[in-house]
Subunit: 413 residues, 2 copies
């Protein structure tokens, strides 16, 4: 397993303002490894509203099932996250572990188990022992403090090479509302320690319906618009917790604050999710390139998204990116294999601002030397114009490198 840190790792983290009503504590519970922060408790003031988006896997983990069943209640008092074990494909024992963990957290925080949300990431198929949770959660509830968010981001890491924490703020009727978020990758995906998790915290006051709609839209253009290796975790989870404490400082509930304020909040949430999603891609297993794939001129937005995904998921496109090779022939191949309406003789392709192919042929004007120089940049854009309609989409991805193979070829053992 590679111990290299991503070339995109930030050199420093700005201090994040606290979100009133949210407290964090984390510890080394020894779930799979020693000397590794692997258990996070976040607590929320009474009345905190929760929204969530989960993996579409047909084989979801036990915590995903637990959370889905609790989302209808719409209220949360605590979040418990462990790394090291995904509690997925663990059958009846897995369901039992989620129940025992939620009960222990509820006792520690002083609420009902239906107000506890859970997430687990790590190895699939190993029974998760709930005893360490019971032992630590009381203490974590007592120690929880408003300023522990960077340690919280560290506690949920698996193959991530750096913690991911981002903040936004927005004015609602003259009062500042804060949105903080943390996330972990890093294979996007995947059983063996690479599930995508993100937890978002705000002091905005809002109904569950408003938050759920805003979260679903934000996720569609961020966490659901990235791909590292096309695999989908059993455990992918995004949860948004809104404490409503900004109301005490004069911020009305989003439903009463007017359309402009609601749009500002939705815009800040979308921007927060997008930055976190980009950080996940940039810390993709073995990644050395961050690539925006843009498709336009497709017959519909959905068609454009499928074509963009075919390009972004193609192992041949991704290995060419790793080799800094402006191999637009592979982009043609990926467009062709997407199964969506395409007309070879109308297709044009750009790397960055360099048009390399136009209307079904190599662009006679393109300079191989200039494009090759462009490919050496760490952040790249590939654009495909189908020339058929107005459908457009963006997907973010990374390259496929030797280190991806090294990280994944021997993980479990």
């Amino acid at each position: 397993m590679s111990a290299k840190v991503s070339p995109f790792a930030p050199s420093a983290y700005p201090a994040l303002p606290a979100v009133d009503g949210v407290r964090f504590a984390s510890t080394e519970a020894g779930i799979r490894y020693s000397n590794r922060r692997d258990l996070l408790l976040a607590t929320f003031v009474p009345g905190t509203v929760v929204a969530g988006v989960f993996t579409r896997s047909k084989c979801p983990s036990a915590p995903v099932e637990w959370d889905r069943d609790r989302l209808a209640g719409g209220r949360a008092r605590a979040l418990v996250v462990n790394s090291g074990n995904a509690n997925a494909f663990t059958g009846r024992k897995g369901r039992e572990a989620t129940r025992l963990t939620a009960e222990a957290a509820a006792r520690a925080v002083g609420c009902g188990p239906d107000e506890i949300f859970l997430a687990s990431t790590g190895v699939i198929g190993e029974p998760l022992d709930p005893v360490p949770f019971e032992r630590h959660l009381d203490r974590l509830a007592r120690e929880a403090a408003p300023d522990g968010i960077l340690d919280a981001a560290r506690a949920i890491m698996t193959t991530d090479t750096y913690p991911k924490a981002v903040t936004r703020s927005v004015e609602i009727a003259g009062a500042t509302v804060t949105l903080n978020g943390i996330a972990k990758g890093a294979g996007m995906i995947a059983p063996d320690m690479a599930t995508m998790l993100s937890f978002l915290f705000t002091d905005a006051a809002a109904s569950q319906a408003t938050l759920q709609a805003a979260l679903a839209d934000a996720v569609a253009e961020s966490f659901n618009a990235i791909t590292i290796d096309s695999d989908t975790s059993t455990s992918d989870t995004v949860l948004l917790f809104a404490t409503g404490t900004a109301a005490a400082r004069g911020a009305p509930a989003l439903e009463e604050a007017g359309a402009e304020a609601l749009e500002a909040f939705r815009g800040a949430l979308a921007s927060l999710c997008r930055e976190l999603a980009h950080m996940v891609v940039k810390d993709g297993e073995g990644a050395t390139k961050f690539v925006e794939v843009r498709v336009r001129g497709a017959v519909s937005d959905q068609s454009a998204k499928r074509i963009a995904r075919a390009i972004a998921d193609s192992p041949l496109v991704k290995t060419a990116l790793a080799g800094e090779d402006a191999n637009w022939g592979r982009v043609v191949m990926a467009v062709g294999k997407a199964g969506e309406p395409a007309d070879r003789d109308r297709l044009s392709i750009w790397f960055g601002d360099f048009r390399v192919a136009h209307e079904g042929e190599r662009d006679p004007a393109y300079s191989e030397a200039a494009v090759s120089a462009y490919m050496k940049a760490p952040e790249l854009a590939i654009t495909a114009d189908l020339g058929l309609g107005d459908g457009a989409a963006r997907i973010w991805t990374c390259d496929l490198t030797h280190d991806y193979v090294a990280i994944n070829a021997d993980y479990r053992s």
Copy 2:
């Protein structure tokens, strides 16, 4: 680029019996590289019937379009194949190159251009110069001989590390009918020298409709049931040429030979295609493992095939295979992401004969040591039983290794 030879390369090739009415000649035409056999001419006696199956890419190469348009005629007098340049995404110039090549071959062989079939494999987007074809085809037509099939297999190679040639025979009314086939990989796929091509030759007499139906069925369970990296070439082509010369030795046309003889021929064709398809996978770029993925208990055969493909295409499953890691959690993930009906709590998984997961949980009886020892074998089987219905499918694939990245990360330059 790696120069390693596949561990599955045969140590020797059996002498293939000639198919009466088929002659081969190949040469170094310098299409892209010097000192490399890159141009193949195969000629057929008058009356030879042709069937074909092509890529489903929406951006097919010019030769694929040429062949598709000629298939309705159903007759072939020659096949011209070049490696080094795919003549794909080459616009009007590409169509012109196919026409000029076919005309040159028709002059050399003495037939109309509509009886010439073409295939090209190599770089996408570079104009293909037809002049070398015109220069060489006259000579090749004169030199063509019945016994050049192994050199023919070599002439169509790109990143393949060994030539692929297979033979079968079948008795039709007491007369021996021969089927020979050649194929090339090696990324299955892919613009940059990895298109899958296969050419099959038989002396059986049959109508185009009979041959086309037999070929389509054989391809479905062979070339269309393999995946190396999930990418689809612009140029994939399988052509079957039937000279009908066995009729002179007493073999009636397949339509008149009776149901049993027709089934025998179809079985031999299917077996020929399967062996060639397996050879393509075993020579997959960087492959060290040959893996049969079996899915059963799905709601339909089509659903089973989609699930098998999700497992076989998963980069995480494929890197685990490279690491000889019995990582069945990644198989669960792949089943879950396939989008097909699945019930986690009915799912069982085997590596070889070792059941590692049963009804939604790790199989308590499985021995990690025994399964780990099994994973060291070069040929492996993964079985997933969905426990829902009677749908079943098989897909063959290989592992994803460092060498795949090495071969593909810097190919064009």
